[in-house]
């Protein structure tokens, strides 16, 4: 046995002896990683509730009013004020009602709201009696999922609804 053979034998023996140690260390690291992951996973839902995708609903409405015609801005402000009064600011922030289209000549429009608050919005529209000291009646006609369909309904609506 020459010197080279002796070195290679020693290194082989050492590497075989180190294998269980390497496995042990690898297991330890894995365990720590797993524990950390579990801890993170447990923390996540507590910190932030899953919101999910916020979908929109488009409510086609018709306005019956007396006197001067109401502007889009006035109607939107009136609706937001009434919404805040009835359901509070937190729900108003989540629902975020916006008038996306309003035609003053025919007194019809489309209001956009978060899908979770569609029912609240329909309930509210019927209860609004006054905007800017003008008596009004807002009639929710139809709810759709797209603005395209809402506009289609808006133009298909019968003229008789205008008083």
């Amino acid at each position: 046995m020459n010197i080279y053979e002796a070195i290679s034998m020693i290194s082989l023996g050492l590497s075989l002896a180190l294998i269980p140690l390497i496995i042990l260390v690898w297991k330890r690291i894995n365990r720590v990683h797993r524990l950390l992951g579990v801890a993170l996973k447990l923390k996540e839902p507590q910190a932030l509730e899953k919101i999910g995708r916020i979908r929109k609903r488009y409510i086609v409405f018709s306005v019956v009013s007396e006197g001067k015609p109401l502007t889009r801005k006035a109607i939107e402000e009136g609706i937001r004020r009434a919404f805040k009064e009835l359901y509070g600011e937190t729900i108003l922030v989540r629902a975020d009602p916006q008038i996306v289209y309003y035609e003053p000549s025919v007194k019809r429009g489309v209001i956009r709201v978060a899908h979770l608050y569609k029912d609240q919005m329909i309930a509210l529209l019927g209860s609004i009696k006054n905007i800017d000291d003008t008596k009004v009646l807002i009639i929710p006609v139809k709810t759709t999922g797209t603005i395209k369909k809402a506009r289609k309904i808006l133009y298909m609506m019968r003229r008789e609804l205008q008083i």
């Binding site: 019956v64 029912d119 609240q120 329909i122 309930a123 509210l124 529209l125 019927g126 209860s127 009696k129 008596k135 009004v136 009646l137 009639i139 929710p140 008789e160 609804l161 008083i163």
Partner: protein, 205 residues
């Protein structure tokens, strides 16, 4: 749901209002200020209705004498206990109205009596909208108790102008939010619930 709803108490009605009611799916309305016993305005069937506000049982008895010949629908807003109890028992009266003045009178005993005689509780929305939150809370407690006991609660508009009328889709949802009662119940009350009262009084719509 077109042409199914009935409003049991409207103060005044004119042609544009009747037209809008028909468009919103109403088939009939009971009106306080109407000349004939029954009639029609633009496809809307009109029934004459009387609302009695009583402070004394004797005056209520007097007012009710021969009333059914002229008014098919009779509603009472009692302002004292005796007249409330009398109204709860009398078969000529079709419903007891819960307003500002009758809030204190409609108690648990009154609701139990109404349950016994199948008398509905009438909720005028025009008056309810104008109440402050404290009064609304009082109405809520009475409505919750009446619902729990199985007394019918009928929402009416009590409208005097076009802006006061009830939009069925909105009102059922609004009442669901206010009182926590399913909107199907309110839908039933606005259609079949009122229809039963009309049938009982021999009115064919």
């Amino acid at each position: 749901m077109k042409g199914e709803f009935i409003d049991l108490c409207i103060e005044k009605i004119d042609e544009p209002m009747a037209k809008l009611l028909v468009l919103m799916g109403y088939k009939a309305a009971a009106v306080l200020e109407y000349e004939e016993k029954t009639g029609r305005i633009d496809k809307l069937f009109i029934i004459r209705c009387k609302l009695l506000r009583s402070r004394k049982e004797s005056s209520l008895r007097k007012a009710l004498r021969g009333i059914k010949g002229e008014y098919p629908i009779v509603l009472v807003e009692p302002m004292d206990i005796q007249s409330a109890r009398f109204a709860g028992r009398d078969s000529r009266i079709d419903g007891i109205l819960i307003g500002e003045a009758s809030l204190r009178v409609i108690d648990r005993a009154q609701i139990s009596l109404m349950k016994q005689y199948s008398k509905p509780l009438i909720l005028p929305m025009k008056i309810f909208y104008n109440m402050d939150s404290r009064r609304k809370a009082m109405v809520y407690r009475r409505i919750a108790y009446a619902y729990d006991r199985g007394v019918n609660i009928i929402p009416v508009s009590y409208a005097s102008e076009i802006y006061d009328i009830l939009i069925p889709q909105s009102i059922t949802k609004l009442l669901e939010h206010y009182f926590g009662i399913n909107n199907r119940y309110w839908l039933y009350m606005l259609t079949s619930g009122v229809g039963e009262i009309l049938v009982k009084n021999g009115v064919r719509v």
